[in-house]
């Protein structure tokens, strides 16, 4: 374990990560503070790739919070819980990383590794974070959320509709991931091998989130089976990590 993965802000980081927000306003608050810390991580400071992702995530969560206040969701209790569970996974990955724990998902390590440089373009960095968060964290967050409510992920219900609303928020936030960039991205995907290609047939966030919903349903069906869950987790992690590496490779710069 390295002495301090976060350099001079290590203490601030550790202190911040002891907090475990349990509502959306608290998540926004934690992300805001995190942004401030991340922008002080040397040597890249403001241009570190994690800060790029965090900024985007903060923006998205703030939008979710605004919509909650506006009463735009059919089942706000569900959506809030999902948001909290979702964020908890990101914070936990950070915590593991800070402690040098092997439990840190690979898909996140890929991005965390780049915090110390070399410099990376903001869009692919943010996309790599989004990849980790949606393709890996989200299915798990869905399962724990549904488990909390004692119900299951049913297609076409209120909760599914609320869930899909988040797609809009993502799409608005990342114009770079919309239509115009798809061909380039396809090109990238084509350069790597089979498994990933099958899995990643579509590329928009919207698609990824539906993949997450389906992965969530799949996880749900095996959630009582610890080995099966572990296997599924492994599969999701390695697939998403492969994509993350790709996004952060020089090829990823194509996206910009």
């Amino acid at each position: 374990m390295t002495v301090s993965v976060w350099g001079p802000v290590h203490q601030d980081m550790t202190a911040l990560l002891t907090g475990q927000p349990d509502d959306v306003p608290a998540v926004v608050d934690q992300l805001t503070k995190l942004q401030d810390i991340l922008e002080r991580v040397p040597p890249l400071l403001c241009s570190n790739p994690l800060a790029d992702f965090n900024k985007l995530y903060l923006h998205i969560t703030t939008t979710v919070l605004d919509r909650l206040y506006e009463g735009r969701f059919a089942d706000p209790a569900f959506l809030s819980r999902l948001d909290v569970e979702f964020a908890a996974r990101y914070f936990e990955a950070l915590r593991h990383w800070s402690q040098g724990s092997a439990a840190c998902p690979r898909v996140w390590s890929v991005l965390f590794h780049r915090v110390g440089g070399p410099d990376c373009r903001p869009l692919p960095s943010a996309a790599a974070g989004v990849n980790a968060h949606i393709n890996f964290d989200l299915p798990f967050a869905l399962v724990t959320t549904f488990d909390y409510f004692g119900s299951d992920p049913v297609d076409d219900g209120d909760q599914h509709a609320d869930y899909l609303q988040i797609n809009e928020i993502f799409a608005d936030a990342i114009p770079g991931l919309r239509r115009g960039y798809l061909e380039k991205w396809q090109l990238l995907i084509d350069t790597i091998n089979g498994d990933l290609d099958d899995w990643w047939q579509g590329e928009t966030i919207e698609y990824a989130r539906n993949v997450a919903w389906r992965n969530g349903q799949r996880l749900w069906s095996v959630r009582h089976d610890l080995p099966a869950t572990a296997k599924e987790r492994e599969r999701l992690d390695s697939n998403a990590a492969a994509l993350g590496r790709l996004l952060l490779s020089p090829l990823g710069a194509l996206l910009q």
């Binding site: 349990d22 959306v24 206040y69 909760q159």
Partner: protein, 933 residues
């Protein structure tokens, strides 16, 4: 053949052990405490549990130990029931409901504990089933009335991913009396000490150091490496896997067989079972066991054999051929059958692993039924699904299995599965009729939140010729209920009428009650309360004739809800609720209904300001030992009282208990909990906390829940105003958000039903008034308006609050003092009568500032405590008041006018007074009264 003696001495855990012991004995206000030990496999969790249990046992604590099983499908409450079984108490089925089971288990636990404190030790909690987790939360919330501490171990690896315990622990660790201890590996010195203890003092420092490096301080690995060192074995390996494999290889054939057999078994493996599984001659068997114990693989206890470490099983699993494994399992199954075991779960497991689905099936079905008897619907559902997997398409009982699987999925919230199973069921040639399928599908869809499709499905049931009038009545009644929830009152009314018409011919009482309730509410929401009331009263009569607890409970519940809800006829609602509960109690049935009725009564009493009476009702209800949502409802009601009384400690305790139960899930109660938190924080001057609770509440409130929005917005604005008044800062963005919510309410209220509008009006007035306070306008008018609205709704608390603020504003403006003084005194009298201490104190403070004397509290309002010799002791406070008026010779109408209640309500009170005093005329009643005072 006990194992404890030959353990290496415990190393490097003295501080942890002490801390855990202290934490376990340091129970919270609910009389419970919990420590959860997490850590990687082999780090020493089980050992720590054992050592702690020994220490506490020696100190006079009663200890009960259970271990969760890793066989995937364990039976409900396995570890706890197993622990109890070892003490000779068996719980196999309980009449009633899931709550009755929890109560029964608590009773057993109390019996074990006797006068002592109880420690419940649960190892390998990561494998616990859902019912065990729920029992745990029930006990920790203090609902079982067992003073106990829980010490549990959880493997850290399994907390990743989606494990439900992860969330439970995250929620619980916020509580003061819960600790989560993350057990770290040993440090260098600790490892060295362990190595020396095992391999002796002669160990080279560098060897010990190597052990530390290779084991990473994991005591399990370190221990084994140290043994290698001691025995002069060449170190070949440092993964546990390799260590074990080389050790197993050294065993003689019998011992080898024993280890393999125990690894494949469900622990504890009883000796006779093992003897049948291994076809060894007796002396060889004994020798093998001795050897396996000596080599530290197996430990023996009176109830059977266990592996010293379950990891061995995981390692060996990959070592044996599938065919060998299958044979072992088959032998187990045969052995269990031969020894006459009734452990269906275990049998099912072995037959299945033996690759003999046909033979597993009966056990799986039996296990499913057994789980249902213990109200473990999630477990039952898994068994039914398993049974389906085991049976083939052509098998005759598949249809029945599908029906069970669908229903159990519905019961445990697996909606998608329920629907899928139902489709399979519908496709069976010998499946249920078209009508039943429509009805069930509709019910499942409604539960899954797909109301549009559910509605269509009910309509189909109503349209198909195959449906009998009785079935159609059921469909129409359910549909009416659904429409009511969707706020379509006119449609709901029409369907309810249809249901009543259909049910007249051959409907069940349940349908009649359901339809009447829907009709009653829809009428009430559409401004014809009397028509609505008449229908539900009729339903109550029908239910009383049927005498079925569900019908009775349901009918009374609806009537009480209608009265205390949309009709705002609080006193009568309270009376009805109490009478319903009383009836059911006399019949000794419907525990959950009784609790819910009493909760309604308590909440009604709270609103009319009869707090002492409300407390008594809650006490009674608590004696029913409610669980789950019912318990949360009551705890919240009681907490509301504590907040009002200003008993902060008790309020905190109940909020903790609520949070504990809710850690297992349940969103419906989070919002009321948050309003209470906000209320409590405000009395303590913790405005930021109040603000945070309100904000969270607002983000999680559905936009059609106007009443909740009203309460939250008022709490929020009040918190800002109070912060401002205390010289703190107002959060402008919070105020902006809150005013947005008030606007949303204004928009929403335009389409709301009149009874809802009436409540919202009250909150809107309060919100407007708080805003004027935040803006320093010192305007008494909005407060006067709010007071008038709440007076009209007969809710003294908010009315008195508005009066206080009105007086305060008048004083600040130096306006007319006399009106302000009157208002302040009225408010004070109300506060005193209710026992609202913090509120009364605040009034007194305002009065002192304004140099106003408040005078003596109104003597009539304070209810004297009932004493045993008092013939009026059986009456409630309100009943005494009514009786006093009766004795003055007033008519019901006059009494109603004087007490601000309806003539009808007075009639009901008088009826109760007659019942309780066992008199038949007003004159007799007056005589009793005059004789007593």
């Amino acid at each position: 053949m006990d194992s404890v003696g030959d353990d290496a001495p415990l190393v490097g855990r003295t501080a942890t052990l002490d801390a855990i012991r202290t934490d376990l004995l340091d129970t919270g206000p609910g009389g419970t405490a919990a420590v959860f030990v997490t850590g990687e496999s082999g780090v020493g969790k089980s050992r720590l549990l054992r050592e702690t249990a020994d220490a506490l046992r020696a100190g006079g604590t009663a200890v009960l130990t259970g271990t969760c099983l890793d066989i995937g499908d364990a039976s409900p409450l396995h570890p706890v029931l197993q622990a109890l079984r070892r003490r000779g108490s068996a719980v196999t089925e309980v009449d009633g409901d899931a709550g009755a089971l929890l109560e029964r288990v608590s009773r057993e636990l109390r019996a074990v504990a006797g006068e002592r404190h109880l420690l419940l030790v649960l190892d390998d909690l990561q494998w616990a089933d859902r019912s065990t987790r729920q029992l745990l939360l029930y006990l920790l919330a203090g609902l079982g009335d067992v003073r106990l501490s829980v010490l549990a171990a959880v493997r850290a690896e399994s907390l990743q991913g989606t494990h439900p315990l992860r969330r439970v622990l995250a929620e619980l660790r916020r509580l003061r009396w819960v600790r989560v201890v993350d057990l770290a590996p040993l440090d260098r010195a600790g490892t060295q000490e362990l190595v020396t203890a095992i391999a002796g003092d002669g160990v080279e420092a560098e060897d010990a150091d190597r052990v530390f490096k290779r084991s990473g301080g994991n005591p399990f690995v370190a221990e084994e490496l140290a043994r290698d060192l001691r025995d002069g074995r060449v170190e070949l390996s440092d993964t546990l896997r390799e260590i074990f494999l080389s050790r197993v290889d050294e065993l003689d054939p019998q011992a080898h067989a024993v280890v393999h057999a125990v690894a494949a078994g469900v622990e504890p493996v009883e000796h006779p079972v093992l003897a049948r599984v291994l076809t060894l001659p007796e002396d060889r068997l004994i020798e093998g066991i001795r050897n396996a114990v000596a080599h530290r693989f197996v430990v023996g206890a009176p109830d059977g054999y266990r592996l010293r470490h379950r990891l061995v099983a995981e390692v060996l699993e990959h070592q044996v051929l599938p065919a060998e494994q299958a044979v072992l399992h088959r032998r187990y199954a045969e052995a269990l059958e031969a020894t006459g075991s009734a452990d269906h779960t275990r049998l099912a497991h072995h037959w299945q692993q033996a690759g003999e689905p046909q033979r597993a099936l009966p056990s799986v079905v039996a296990a499913a039924h057994a789980a249902e008897r213990l109200y473990g619907f999630a477990e039952a559902h898994r068994y039914w699904s398993l049974a389906l997997d085991l049976s083939c398409d052509a098998s005759t009982d598949r249809t029945e299995l599908l029906a069970h699987a669908a229903e159990s999925a519905h019961q445990c919230g697996e909606h998608q599965r329920a629907l899928t199973r139902l489709e399979e069921l519908a496709a069976r040639p010998d499946g249920p009729g078209e009508c039943e399928i429509h009805l069930r599908r509709a019910r499942y869809l409604a539960a899954a939140g797909r109301s549009v499709t559910a509605e269509i499905e009910y309509e189909k049931a109503l349209a198909v010729p195959a449906c009998t009038p009785g079935e159609k009545a059921t469909a129409a009644a359910y549909l009416a209920e659904l429409l009511l929830h969707l706020g379509r009152y006119a449609d709901a009314g029409a369907r309810a009428r249809e249901a009543l018409r259909l049910a007249e011919a051959d409907g069940t009482t349940a349908d009649l009650v359901r339809a009447s309730a829907a009709l009653g509410f829809s009428e009430a929401f559409r401004e014809d309360p009397d028509a609505g009331l008449a229908v539900i009263r009729h339903a109550v009569e029908i239910a009383e004739r049927s005498g079925h607890p569900d019908d009775l409970g349901c009918a009374y519940l609806h009537l009480a809800e209608l009265l205390t809800g949309p009709l705002n006829s609080l006193e009568e609602g309270v009376l009805v609720a109490r009478r319903g509960a009383q009836k059911l109690a006399e019949m000794g049935v419907g525990r959950s209904y009784q609790t819910r009725l009493l909760a309604i009564a308590a909440n009604g009493l709270f609103r009319v300001g009869q707090w002492a009476e409300a407390e008594r009702v809650i006490d009674t209800a608590m004696r029913h030992r409610p669980s789950g949502a019912d318990a949360v409802e009551l705890l919240l009601a009681r907490c509301r009282l504590w907040v009002g009384f200003g008993d902060i400690e008790a309020a905190d305790r109940d909020l903790d208990a609520v949070a504990t139960v809710l850690a297992g899930g349940g969103a419906r109660h989070v919002l009321p909990m948050l309003t209470l938190r906000a209320g409590l924080a405000m009395w303590q001057g913790r405005h930021a906390e109040a603000r945070a609770a309100v904000q969270r509440g607002l983000t999680e409130t559905r936009s059609d829940d106007l009443v909740l929005m009203g309460i939250l917005a008022w709490h929020g604005l009040r918190a800002e105003a109070e912060a401002h008044a205390a010289g703190g800062t107002v959060d402008p963005s919070a105020v902006r958000r809150l005013t947005t919510v008030v606007d949303r309410m204004t928009r929403g209220v335009a389409n709301a039903a009149p009874p809802v509008r009436a409540v919202i009006d009250g909150y809107q007035d309060l919100c407007a008034a708080e805003l004027s306070r935040i803006e320093d306008r010192h305007d008494p008018h909005p407060w006067a308006r709010a007071a008038a609205v709440w007076d009209k709704r007969q809710q003294p608390y908010p009315a008195a609050y508005a009066r206080l603020r009105m007086a305060e504003a008048s004083f600040a403006r130096k306006g007319k003092r006399s009106a302000a003084i009157t208002a302040l005194r009225e408010a004070y009298a109300t506060a005193q009568a209710m026992g609202a201490k913090p509120f009364a104190a605040e009034i007194a403070a305002v009065a002192a500032r304004a140099r106003v004397t408040l005078g003596e509290p109104d003597a009539v309002a304070a209810t004297p405590a009932p004493d045993a010799g008092d013939p009026l002791g059986v009456l409630t406070g309100r009943e005494r008041e009514v009786l006093a008026k009766v004795a003055e010779g007033l008519t019901n109408k006059e009494i109603g006018q004087q007490l601000f209640i309806s003539e009808r309500t007075v009639g009901v009170h008088v009826g109760h007074i007659f019942d309780k005093l066992q008199v038949r005329t007003r004159v007799q009643a007056s005589r009793v009264y005059l004789g007593a005072v």
